[in-house]
C-alpha cells in the first residue's frame, strides 16, 4: 500500500515536472542547418548560412522561454540520398526540431518528404524550384528566399519588356534547370515573345563554347541561362570570349547570386539584369546586418540572399515557437503562418497556405566598373517587385493544402 502510494506519488511528480517541460521536447530547441559545405554552392550558401542561423539564435537571446537553443550543421553534398539520411538521423536520434537552408532542389525535396513523415519543420532558403510549394508542399514545410517563378517573373518579364523578344535557352540538365526554363518560357510567351530553341547541357559543365555557338546561330536576341553558380559564371565569361555579347546578343542570367558577380568581376558581368530577394546595400538595416555577418565570416565578403534568408527563417521559427510555447511541428507551423515577418530581409512578409513566404523581390542591374565605388558595390536596384505579383498566385498552386 505504502509502496503503491509512493509509486503514484513518484509518477505524479514525474508527470508534473514533465508538464513544466512538456512543451519543449527533451528540454531544448534544436535547429539543424543542412547545406552544401564543400561543393559548387558552398560560396552562395555553405558556411555563411550556419553563421547566419547562429546570428538569429544569438539575436533572439539564445534561449526560448527558458530553454536553450542549440544549432548543429552538416554537409549534404547536394545529394538527395545523403540529405534524407542526415535528416532522418537528426529527427530520430538527435532530437532536431527544424532543419534550415537546404540548397539544391533534389536535397530539399528529399528532406521535405522526411519532415512531412515525422511532422517536423523544414525551412528552405537555398533551393529554387516551385514544386516545393506545389505538389511537394507540406503543412510543416516553408519556402523562404526566392523561387524559379519569381526569377522568371522578374528577369524574364523585364528583359522581354525591354525589347528582348526572341529567346534561346542554355539549360542545366536537371530538375532545377528544366523548372527554371519552363517558368521563363511561360513569361516570355505571355509577353508576346518567342522561344527559338534550347540546349540542355550536362551539370556541372565547364566548357560552354559549343552550346554558345548553337545559341549564336539561332539568331535569338536573348540567351537565357537557366543554370546557376559555376555554370552561369563560365557561360557568361565564355560568351564574352566568343564575341557573342559584342555582336549584339544579350545574356539573361536567370539565377545569379552576388557571389557569382564577385567571382566574374564587374568587367565581365556589367549590365546584366537579375532578380534577387536581397541586396546587402539597400538600407541601413541591411547594411548593418551584412556588416556584422561579414565580420563573423572573417571579413572581405558580403552575404548572398540565401545567407540573409536563412537568418530570417530561423528568427521567424524561433518567434513562432516562443508564441506557440511548444516545439511541436504542426503547432509551430500554424503559428508561423499567423505571425507577420518583419526583419531586415523581409518587410511585411507573410506565409501562405502552400508554405510560400511572400515578400518583395528586386530587379537589379550589375553596375559598370566605373559606377562601383568599392568592394561588393555591384547592384543598381531598378525596381521593387511587390511580393503579391512576384510569386505564383495561390489560385494557381497545385498544393493540396490550398482550399479551392
Amino acid at each position: 500500500m505504502v509502496m503503491k502510494r509512493l509509486l503514484l506519488g513518484a509518477a505524479a511528480l514525474a508527470l508534473s515536472t514533465g508538464m513544466a517541460h512538456a512543451q519543449y521536447s527533451d528540454g531544448k530547441v534544436k535547429i539543424g542547418v543542412l547545406t552544401d559545405l564543400s561543393g559548387t554552392y558552398s560560396d552562395l550558401a555553405g558556411k555563411g548560412t550556419i553563421v547566419a542561423a547562429q546570428m538569429a539564435i544569438d539575436d533572439f537571446g539564445g534561449k526560448l522561454n527558458g530553454q536553450p537553443i542549440e544549432l548543429i550543421s552538416a554537409d549534404h553534398q547536394n545529394k538527395a540520398d545523403i540529405a534524407s539520411g542526415i535528416a532522418r538521423k537528426w529527427y530520430d536520434t538527435e532530437q532536431v526540431d527544424a532543419i534550415a537552408e537546404l540548397v539544391t532542389t533534389a536535397a530539399a525535396i528529399a528532406v521535405r518528404e522526411v519532415s512531412k513523415e515525422k511532422g517536423k519543420i523544414d525551412l528552405v532558403s537555398g533551393a529554387a524550384s516551385t514544386p516545393l510549394t506545389n505538389d511537394k508542399c507540406s503543412a510543416t514545410g516553408f519556402h523562404w528566399t526566392y523561387d524559379t517563378y519569381a526569377l522568371a517573373n522578374g528577369t524574364g518579364d523585364a528583359v522581354v519588356k525591354n525589347g528582348g523578344k526572341t529567346w534561346f535557352f542554355l539549360t542545366a540538365d536537371y530538375a532545377f534547370g528544366h523548372n527554371l526554363q519552363a517558368q521563363t518560357e511561360k513569361v516570355v510567351k505571355a509577353n508576346g515573345g518567342t522561344v527559338k530553341g534550347s540546349v540542355k547541357h550536362p551539370f556541372p559543365n565547364s566548357d560552354f563554347s559549343s552550346f554558345l555557338l548553337q545559341a549564336q546561330s539561332s539568331g535569338a536576341q536573348i540567351i537565357g541561362l537557366a543554370n546557376a553558380g559555376a555554370d552561369t559564371i563560365n557561360a557568361i565569361k565564355q560568351a564574352k570570349e566568343f564575341g557573342i555579347t559584342q555582336a549584339g546578343q544579350s545574356l539573361a542570367g536567370l539565377l545569379v547570386f552576388i557571389t557569382d558577380v564577385h567571382s566574374l568581376g564587374l568587367e565581365n558581368a556589367q549590365g546584366m539584369m537579375l532578380t534577387t530577394g536581397f541586396y546587402w546595400d539597400m538600407d541601413d538595416q541591411t547594411r548593418a546586418w551584412s556588416k556584422r555577418w561579414s565580420e563573423k565570416m572573417g571579413g572581405g565578403k558580403m552575404p548572398s540572399m540565401v545567407h540573409a534568408g536563412t537568418y530570417s527563417q530561423v528568427l521567424h521559427y524561433l518567434r513562432a515557437a516562443a508564441a506557440a510555447k511548444t516545439d511541436e511541428g504542426i503547432k509551430v507551423a500554424d503559428e508561423m503562418r499567423k505571425l507577420p515577418i518583419n526583419d531586415f530581409f523581409a518587410k511585411n512578409g507573410k506565409i501562405r497556405a502552400d508554405g510560400r513566404m511572400v515578400h518583395d523581390m528586386y530587379l537589379a542591374q550589375v553596375k559598370k566598373p566605373s559606377e562601383s565605388k568599392g568592394p561588393w558595390d555591384y547592384y543598381k536596384i531598378i525596381r521593387t517587385i511587390p511580393g503579391d505579383t512576384a510569386y505564383q498566385p495561390l489560385s494557381e498552386s497545385t498544393c493540396p493544402l490550398v482550399k479551392k
Binding site: 564543400s38 561543393g39 559548387t40 554552392y41 558552398s42 560560396d43 552562395l44 540538365d173 540546349v199 540542355k200 547541357h201 550536362p202 556541372p204 559543365n205 565547364s206 566548357d207 563554347s209 559549343s210 552550346f211 555557338l213 548553337q214 546561330s217 553558380g229 559555376a230 559564371i233 563560365n234 565569361k237 565564355q238 570570349e241 566568343f242 564575341g243 557573342i244 555582336a247 557571389t259 557569382d260 564577385h262 567571382s263 566574374l264 568581376g265 568587367e267 565581365n268
Partner: protein, 294 residues
C-alpha cells in the same frame, strides 16, 4: 549545305572547339602517361596540380604583379618543385609496392590540395583575364575564333610533340626508358637513376601546371577545375593505352573532337560519351588503342 541535318558551318565550328578541348586533354594525359610509363605511378593528384598551376598564375598576378607570360614560366617551376617534394618524400617509398598504393596516396593528396585551396579561396573561382596580346578574335566565316583559343592549340601541339620527341628520339629519352626497364644495369653505367626519375615526375607535373595556366583565362581559376577534368583525362589515358606517349596525345585530340560533336547531335550525352568510347575500346582492345600487349 547540311550534313546529317546540321549546317556545315556549325559542324566545322564544333570540330574546331573539340580540337581546342582536346588540346587540354592531350597535355594532361601526356603528363599522366609519362609518369605512369616511367614511374609506374597512377598519378591521381594530376588534376589538383593542374589547378595549382592556374592558382599560382592568379596569385602571381595579384600579389606579385607578374603577368600571364611570366606565369607561364614561373607556375610550372613552382608546381614542379611541389611535385619533386612529393616524389622525394612520399612516392619514392612506393615504387616496389602494388600500383594501388600510389593511386591511393595521390588520390589522398589531391583531396588535401583541393581542400586547402577551397578553404582559402571558396568554390566560385577567381577571374583571370586573357593577356592583351591575345585578346580579340578572328572571324573565320563559319565561326568566331578567339585568338587565345588558337594560341592554346598551338602551344599544346608544340609541348606535346616536343615531349614525345625528347622521350622517343633523344639520348636522354633513351636513358630514361632504359632506366625504368632495368635500373641496376643503367646505374652501373654511371647514370643517376633516382634523380632521373625525380626530374621526370617534376616534368610531368610541370606539364599539368602549364595546362593550368593556359586554362586560367578560359575558365574561372577554381579549386574544382582539376577534379572536374581528371576523370575524363584518365579515360583518355586508358583509351590511348596506359603509358603510351603518342597514344595519349592522339587520343586526347580525338576524344575532344568526339565530345564536341556529341554536343551538337545529342548534348545530354556529352559528359558520358568518352566513357562509352572507353567501354567499347576496352572490350575490343583491352590494352588500349596504342597500348603494347595486354
Amino acid at each position: 549545305m547540311t550534313i546529317l541535318g546540321i549546317p556545315t558551318q556549325a559542324l566545322f565550328g564544333q570540330l574546331l572547339l573539340g580540337l581546342i578541348n582536346g588540346a587540354f586533354y592531350a597535355m594532361l594525359s601526356l603528363g599522366l602517361a609519362l609518369i605512369f610509363g616511367l614511374l609506374n605511378i597512377i598519378n591521381f593528384s594530376h588534376g589538383a596540380l593542374y589547378m595549382m598551376g592556374a592558382f599560382v598564375a592568379w596569385l602571381a598576378l595579384n600579389f606579385l604583379g607578374l603577368g600571364y607570360w611570366g606565369a607561364l614560366i614561373v607556375a610550372p617551376l613552382v608546381v614542379a618543385l611541389v611535385g619533386i617534394v612529393i616524389e622525394r618524400t612520399m612516392l619514392c617509398r612506393l615504387y616496389k609496392l602494388d600500383h594501388l598504393y600510389g593511386l591511393l596516396l595521390t588520390f589522398g593528396l589531391a583531396l588535401i590540395i583541393e581542400g586547402l585551396f577551397r578553404e582559402g579561396y571558396g568554390v566560385s573561382g577567381q577571374p583571370y583575364s586573357v593577356p592583351s596580346a591575345l585578346a580579340g578574335g578572328w572571324n573565320l566565316g563559319f565561326m568566331f575564333l578567339p585568338i587565345y583559343r588558337g594560341w592554346v592549340v598551338v602551344a599544346s601541339l608544340v609541348l606535346c610533340l616536343g615531349t614525345w620527341y625528347a622521350i622517343e628520339k633523344t639520348k636522354l629519352g633513351a636513358y630514361l626508358r632504359a632506366g625504368t626497364e632495368n635500373p641496376t644495369l643503367v646505374q652501373a653505367f654511371g647514370i643517376n637513376v633516382p634523380l632521373m626519375i625525380t626530374l621526370t615526375y617534376g616534368f610531368g607535373v610541370a606539364l599539368a601546371a602549364i595546362a593550368g595556366v593556359l586554362a586560367a583565362p578560359i575558365y574561372q581559376v577554381s579549386p574544382k577545375m582539376g577534379s572536374d577534368l581528371i576523370i575524363v583525362v584518365f579515360a583518355v589515358v586508358v583509351i590511348g593505352g596506359m603509358g603510351s606517349i603518342m597514344g595519349s596525345i592522339l587520343t586526347g585530340y580525338m576524344l575532344g573532337i568526339v565530345e564536341g560533336l556529341t554536343k551538337v547531335f545529342y548534348p545530354e550525352a556529352a559528359s558520358t560519351v568518352i566513357f562509352m568510347v572507353m567501354v567499347v575500346v576496352l572490350l575490343i582492345k583491352p590494352a588500349g588503342l596504342f597500348g603494347k600487349g595486354a
